[in-house]
Amino acid sequence: MATVAGSLERQAAGRGLSLVAAAGWIALAAGLLALPHLLSISQREVAVMLLVNVLLVASYRLITLTGEWSLGHVVTMGVGAYGSALLASLAGFPVVLAMLGGALIAGFVAWLLSFPLFRMKGFYFLIGSFAAAEVIRLCWKKFTVPFGGPKGLSQVPELPPLDLGALTGWLSLQLGEPGAGGHSGAYFLGLLPVHEDLVIRFSKPLFTANYYYFCLLVVAVSLWLLWRIERSRIGMTFHAIHWQDSLAASVGVNTRGYRTLALVVGSVFAGLAGALMAHGVGSVAPGRFDVTQMVYVLIWVIVGGTATFAGPIVGVVVLTVLNEVVLRELGIDALRPAVYGAILIVSVLFLPQGLEGLWRGRRNRPAKRRST
C-alpha cells in the first residue's frame, strides 16, 4: 500500500500535483465507486441522471471554449437519445453500438447545422442555434413515424444483461443471502450486484447500481477525452479563437473549421449523454429537450463557471444535490424556480466567475486570463 502511495506521489509530483491533490483524486474515485451503496434505490437513479448531466455540461463547455454559446445543446442531446433509441429498437443494433451510433448521429447533425450557424457569431449564433434546435424538436413532434410524435418513444431497450456464468470458475464472487428482486447477494468485483443466475442486469430500479457503474465508466472515459482535447494544441487553438479570432485567422488558423470541430465533438458527447439517458429511463419525448431544460444547463454552467474544466461539473453537482436532495427533503421543491433564480442572481453579482472562482483566485492566478 505504501509502495502504491509512493508511486502515486511520484507521478503526481511529476505532473506538478501535490500529494493532497493525488489523495483527493483517490478519495473521489473511491467515493464514486462506493456511492450507489450509500444511496437509496431512488437516489441511485438520481446519481445516474447526475452523471448524464455532468457529461452534458462538460461537452457544452467544449463548445464555449471557442467563444460561442449555443441554445441547442439539449436538443443535440435529444438527437443522440432519439438516434440511439431508434437504432436499438427499429434497426436492432446492440444497445452499446446504438449508443455510439446515437452519439455519431448527434455529431453529424451538428456538422450539418454548422454550415448555416457559423455564418453567424455571438448573439446571432445564440439565436440561430435556438431556431435550429426548435426545428429539430418540432420535427420529433410532427413525425409520428419514426419519432413517436408528441408522446415520443417508449419501451426503449435497456442495456442487455452480462452473463458471468462462464467466468465463475475464476472469479471470486462473495456470496451472501439472496436479496430482493432476484439479487443473489453476490457482488462482482465487490461492487456490482449479481442476479441469482449469475447475470449482471442493468434494469431499474433493483439493478440501477449496475447501470450507474456503466455510466460512470462511459462518463469517466468521455471526460478524460474532453480533458485531453482541451489540453492539446487543438484546445489551445479553441482558446485562441475565443480571445483573438482575427489574429488567429491572420496567422493561418482556420477559425471556422476549429469552431465546427468544437461544435461537432461537443455534440458527439452530448449525444452520448442523451443515449445514456434514453436507455436508462426507457423512454424519450420531445418535452424533455425543450428550452426550459436548456435554461437549466445554462444555469449549471454559469453558476459553476466556465473558466476551468471542473467549473460546470461543480455547478451541476451542487445544484442537483440542492434540488433533488435538499429541496425535496425539506418539502419545498416547488420553490425550485425561485431558488434557481436567486442562485443565478447571487452568482452573477457576487461570483461572476462561478463557484470555481472560489478556489481559482487563491490557487492559480494566471488561469484568470482564460476566464469568460
Partner: protein, 432 residues
C-alpha cells in the same frame, strides 16, 4: 395527511402571494394523526407535476386529496378487511418529465411503500409505469391515451380524456343548430392531439364543418397570430380543444380583443372567473366546457357518486381561494373508487383492489354508474366510462346544462372516432 410540506406552483404563487403560502403552511399538519391510535396507515402515492407548465393539472388535485384525507382521518380512518387505516398521501413532483417520474415511482413504491399510485399521465407515464409494473402496482391516470394492451395495471377511472368532449359538441348541436362551422386549435402535444381527433369526430357527427385545425407549440406566448388565423375563415364556433389553462385564458382574451362574438367551446376553463374578468360576462355567456364547479345543485342528483360535492367545494375554495380547477375533484373521485374496491376486496394490496374494482365490468364513477371500456380504442378495457356533464357559463358562473352519455355517442359514432384517431396517429398500435 401529507407526508411532508408540499409545494406551491410558480404561477399561483405569484398570483396568490401570501395567501398561497399560508395555505401551503396548513398542509404540513397531520390532523388525523392524533386519532385512531390503533389504526394502521395506508400510503397513496401522488406522482404528478406540481411545478411548471402542467402544474395546474396536478397541484389542485393534491389540495383536494388533502381535504379528503383530513376528513377521512378525522372520522377515524377507513375500515378495510377488519382493520382500520388512516390515509397518507405521499406527493412527488415529476415536473412532467419521464426521468423525474421514474425516480418518483421508485421512491414512492420501493421506499415509501405506497399501495396505490395516482398520476396525471402523459409524457412521464411510460417511465413510471415501467417501474410500477415490476411491483404489480396499481396506477391511475387521467389520460386514457396512456392505456395500451401492455398496461394491465393502469386504469383511467375518473377522467376519460378526451372522449367526454363529444358530449359538449353533442349538446351544442342539439341546442344551437344554427351553428355550422368551427375552427379548432390546440398545443401540439400528447394532450392536444387526441383531443383534436375527438373534436373533429364530434363535429363531423354533429354535422358541423371544421374549417381549419391549428396546432401551436407549447412554448407559444403570443396568441394574437393564432387567433387571427382562427378567425380568418369566419367560423361560428371557436374550439380551444384541451389547451392548457393559461392558453385558454390568453386565447379568450385574443378572441375578445379581435372582436369575436360567436360560440366558444373548450375542454377546460380553469380559473374561468379570471377570463370573465379579463373579457366580459357578455363575451363569455354560453361558453361551453366539461368541468363543473362542485357547488352546482345538479351534482346533488342521487346518481352522482361523490359524497357532499357542495360541501367539498365550499371547503376547497375557502382554504385554497382561486385554485379550483378541472382536477380539483378528480383525484378524490379516484380515491372514492379505490376505497370502494378495497373495502369490497377486504385488502389494500394493489392486485386485490384492481380485481374488485373491475368486478362485473362496472364501477361507481363520480357522475353515475359506468362501465369499464376501451378495448377498441386503447386495446384494453381499463377506462371507466358513463355519463359526463356539459357545463355552460351563464351570467359569469359555470352551470351544468345537462349530462350526456359517452357510451351512447360511442355506439353511434365509434368508428368515426377510430378513423380520426388513426389519422392523428393516436391509436395504441400507432404510438412509439
Amino acid at each position: 395527511m401529507l407526508k411532508r410540506g408540499f409545494p406551491i406552483s410558480r404561477r399561483r404563487l405569484i398570483g396568490s402571494g401570501a395567501a398561497g403560502l399560508a395555505a401551503a403552511g396548513t398542509m404540513v399538519r397531520r390532523p388525523g394523526a392524533a386519532r385512531a391510535q390503533d389504526a394502521k396507515t395506508v400510503k397513496i402515492g401522488f406522482l404528478a407535476p406540481l411545478t411548471g407548465e402542467v402544474a395546474a393539472w396536478g397541484l389542485p388535485g393534491l389540495y383536494g386529496c388533502q381535504i379528503w384525507a383530513e376528513k377521512v382521518n378525522a372520522a377515524g380512518g377507513l375500515e378495510i378487511g377488519g382493520d382500520r387505516y388512516l390515509v397518507e398521501f405521499v406527493p412527488y413532483d415529476d415536473e412532467y418529465l419521464a426521468d423525474k417520474a421514474s425516480v418518483g415511482a421508485t421512491q414512492l413504491i420501493f421506499e415509501d411503500g405506497v399501495k396505490f399510485l395516482m398520476m396525471l399521465g402523459g409524457d412521464p407515464m411510460p417511465a413510471a409505469y415501467a417501474v410500477a409494473s415490476q411491483a404489480d402496482m396499481l396506477v391511475s391516470t387521467l389520460l386514457p391515451s396512456d392505456l395500451t394492451p401492455d398496461t394491465p395495471n393502469l386504469i383511467a377511472p375518473s377522467e376519460v380524456h378526451p372522449i367526454y368532449n363529444v358530449t359538449g359538441v353533442q349538446w351544442l348541436a342539439e341546442n344551437r343548430s344554427e351553428l355550422k362551422t368551427a375552427v379548432i386549435c390546440a398545443q401540439d402535444d400528447a394532450l392536444g392531439r387526441p383531443s383534436v381527433a375527438t373534436y373533429q369526430a364530434a363535429f363531423e357527427a354533429a354535422g358541423i364543418t371544421v374549417n381549419d385545425t391549428i396546432f401551436f407549440d407549447i412554448s407559444t406566448t403570443d396568441f394574437a397570430p393564432v387567433m387571427t388565423s382562427m378567425l380568418s375563415s369566419n367560423p361560428d364556433i371557436l374550439c380551444l380543444d384541451t389547451a392548457y389553462s393559461d392558453f385558454v385564458n390568453l386565447l379568450c382574451e385574443q378572441a375578445y380583443q379581435q372582436g369575436f362574438k360567436g360560440q366558444i367551446i373548450s375542454c377546460t376553463a380553469d380559473y374561468y372567473r379570471d377570463i370573465v374578468a379579463n373579457t366580459s360576462k357578455e363575451f363569455m355567456e354560453g361558453f361551453i366546457f366539461q368541468f363543473p364547479d362542485f357547488d352546482d345543485p345538479a351534482l346533488n342528483d342521487p346518481r352522482v357518486n361523490f359524497p357532499d360535492p357542495n360541501g367539498f367545494y365550499a371547503e376547497y375554495v375557502e382554504r385554497f381561494p382561486g385554485e379550483w380547477s378541472a382536477v380539483s375533484w378528480e383525484y378524490v373521485s379516484v380515491m372514492h373508487l379505490w376505497v370502494d374496491a378495497a373495502q369490497r376486496a377486504g385488502s389494500i394490496e394493489p392486485q386485490d383492489v384492481l380485481a374488485a374494482m373491475k368486478e362485473g365490468g362496472v364501477g361507481r364513477h363520480a357522475f353515475g354508474q359506468a362501465e369499464w371500456w376501451g378495448e377498441e380504442l386503447f386495446g384494453i378495457s381499463n377506462a371507466l366510462v358513463g355519463d359526463w356533464p356539459v357545463v355552460v357559463i351563464r351570467d359569469g358562473k359555470a352551470q351544468i346544462a345537462d349530462f350526456k352519455s359517452i357510451p351512447a355517442w360511442w355506439d353511434a359514432h365509434g368508428q368515426l372516432l377510430i378513423e380520426k384517431f388513426e389519422a392523428m396517429g393516436e391509436m395504441h398500435y400507432q404510438r412509439g
